[in-house]
């Protein structure tokens, strides 16, 4: 800003010439780097201090024995790949990785995508009243804070909860579903919580599919499902891939919902990578090992992202 005021007033002649000389979109008064460094400053500071810093620290710390307490806390040493060797040998890590992938596939890829797409398709061209009512209910679940969603599903699946009351009519024995089927419980809860996002993005994608293409296919004798699979879905594949990407990144990091509902239990039957990371790094104080788990989490997310990008690439070539 000081650069602005320091500039001497321009003569009319300069004023006319300046934008032309500097190329489109350049301001009078501000020269060089100051015109973007000053306004970008606060954002750059926040991003570097709280994003880039921790990420670099993650990579570094995963090669050390950084710890919260004890001798290692005072003197952090470089231990090479020891954390990763320990990771690969740790049966709990293997089970957490599998559970994370099960959670991701069950709730993110299959549950939210199928349900979200189904809802978006069914709601398309419905009466505004129907769309509004169903939309409010589904989006309501999405807006509710994660902790509250955890409580709600805890209450729903507990031994004294509503599900047993409903299933009691069918003669199913009362049980604490959080205990007998912890993964199914958290997957259902996450589908409930997350479907609205997929529904909204798919609804936006579907609204851009030209209706004359669908009409043409129907005139040619295609059934509803044929139109869906051969016309509509290929047209919104970009939306599908992007949504899957965002849902995956969102789903692998779910901590609160699982922590509130089962705290990773019983035993470690619902301990996904974020919960294992929390336990190792913050409860047991082993920061180095915890960050190695965090890197593994990023790796899982990255691998799935790669699949979607690939999917987009091969589809586009057709």
């Amino acid at each position: 800003m000081s650069a602005t005021t320091a500039t001497p007033p321009l003569t009319p002649d300069q004023r006319r010439r300046r934008p032309v000389r500097a190329g489109g979109g350049t301001r009078p008064g501000q020269r060089g780097a100051a015109r973007w460094i000053i306004p970008l400053g606060p954002a750059l500071f926040l991003l570097l201090a709280f994003f880039a810093g921790p990420i670099l620290w993650t990579v570094w710390a995963s090669f050390t024995n950084a710890a919260l307490t004890g001798a290692q806390a005072a003197q952090t040493e470089f231990i090479g790949l020891a954390n990763f060797e320990r990771l690969l040998a740790d049966p709990r890590f293997a089970s957490a990785t599998i559970l994370t992938i099960v959670f991701l596939l069950g709730s993110g890829v299959v549950g939210q995508t199928v349900l979200g797409l189904t809802l978006a398709l069914l709601l398309q061209n419905r009466h505004a009243l129907v769309r509004g009512a169903v939309g409010v209910i589904v989006v309501g679940a999405w807006v509710v804070p994660e902790v509250v969603a955890g409580f709600v599903w805890y209450a729903f699946l507990e031994r004294e909860g509503s599900l047993n009351a409903v299933l009691g009519f069918g003669g199913v024995e009362s049980q604490n579903w959080l205990f007998t089927a912890p993964m199914l419980a958290v997957i259902l809860a996450n589908v409930w919580k997350g479907t609205a996002f997929s529904m909204m993005t798919y609804a936006a994608g579907l609204s851009e599919v030209p209706s004359d293409l669908k009409e043409a296919a129907r005139v040619d004798g295609a059934s509803g499902f044929q139109v869906l699979f051969h016309v509509v879905l290929p047209l919104i594949r970009r939306t599908i891939a992007t949504t899957l990407l965002l849902v995956t990144l969102q789903t692998v990091q779910v901590f609160t919902l699982i922590y509130v509902m089962t705290s990773g239990g019983p035993g470690s039957r619902s301990t996904t990578l974020p919960l294992l990371m929390y336990e190792q790094a913050l409860q047991l104080g082993d920061l180095g090992y915890g960050t190695a788990i965090a890197l593994a989490l990023l790796l899982v997310a990255g691998l799935f992202s790669l699949v979607y990008v690939r999917m987009l690439g091969t589809e586009a070539k057709r």
Binding site: P54, N125, V147, A155, L245, T256, L282, L287, T291
Partner: protein, 300 residues
């Protein structure tokens, strides 16, 4: 349902009937399947509704349980029991400080950052925007352990201001992305006219762009509020003393202490904690003309 039995969906029926009404072209639009569609929609809506019914019922029930049964007699006693400084008012105030601060910081930083990114031709613009997009999707949970380590070393642990700044940083990438789209939508010709008249970049940003950007500012601000208000993990890890905890964490400790017995109070607290987010969400969807989807933000 009667429609279903009258006209069983067959391939020939679909083809023949396909031309009857305007909406009949779209796959599930025919009379035969319309009933089925409404049935499926109704069942799905019910499945989504039932779990949350418990919260509403138990909050007002004189004899609350974990079951979602309509209360036989109503009471406000659960709300009274929860509305104490220790359980409700202080955590809410902490939440307002932390999340409101994060919203203000995010809005200011993203307007300032998005403006040059939208208006200038900068060499690093494309890589910068891609980095921002990448950061938007970065799982925050994965960097919480290093952030915790950093907070311990920098002596920032248990500081509300530092937690607020971290939350602001975590929503900033999305804020910049949204804000740039909003500024891109403001015609540059207006500003060019101002520059010709001798206005500085700062003046045209403050006097011209900012007023036109009001919807964008509202959306980014409210979005940050909604995101941070519901965030449990970050304050749970970065704050340690109970008197600094926002409602997100306090309600969880309440659940841990009394959750298995005082259902009514838990439900009442959950309702009180959820309502501001719902109100803000309605406000943001109004601001966007009722079409709140990430479609625009995702296309980039």
């Amino acid at each position: 349902m009667s429609a279903v039995s009258q006209a069983p969906p067959s391939a020939t029926g679909r083809r023949a009937g396909g031309r009857r009404t305007g909406s009949a072209i779209t796959a599930p639009g025919r009379l035969a399947s319309a009933g089925l569609v409404y049935l499926v929609l109704g069942v799905l809506a019910l499945l989504f509704l039932v779990p949350s019914l418990w919260m509403v019922f138990a909050a007002f029930d004189t004899e609350p349980s974990l079951r979602a049964t309509p209360p036989t007699s109503l009471t406000l006693a659960h709300f009274e029991a929860v509305l104490t400084p220790d359980i409700f008012y202080r955590p809410m105030w902490n939440g307002i400080l932390i999340c409101g601060g994060a919203a203000v910081v995010t809005v200011l930083a993203s307007v300032l950052a998005a403006y040059p990114l939208s208006r200038y031709t900068l060499r690093f613009k494309r890589p910068f925007m891609y980095t921002v997009l990448f950061a938007t999707g970065l799982p925050i949970t994965a960097i919480m352990v290093p952030v915790y380590g950093m907070f311990v070393q920098a002596n920032l642990l248990n500081s509300r201001a530092a937690t607020m700044l971290f939350l602001a940083a975590s929503t900033l990438p999305f804020g910049i992305w949204l804000m740039k789209n909003f500024i891109d939508g403001i015609p540059i010709t207006l500003e060019e006219a101002a520059w010709v008249d001798g206005a500085s970049a700062w003046q045209s940003l403050r006097l011209l762009v900012a007023p036109l950007l009001a919807p964008g500012i509202a959306v980014v601000g409210i979005f940050t509020l909604v995101m941070t208000w519901g965030n449990f993990f970050v304050p749970f890890i970065l704050l340690t003393s109970p008197d600094k905890m926002p409602a997100a964490v306090r309600i969880f400790t309440f659940f841990g202490q009394y959750g298995s017995v005082r259902y009514g109070e838990l439900a009442a607290y959950s309702l009180l904690y959820t309502l501001p987010v719902v109100a803000l969400y309605i406000a943001v969807s109004r601001a966007l003309g009722g079409k709140f989807s990430f479609g625009g933000a995702m296309k980039g």
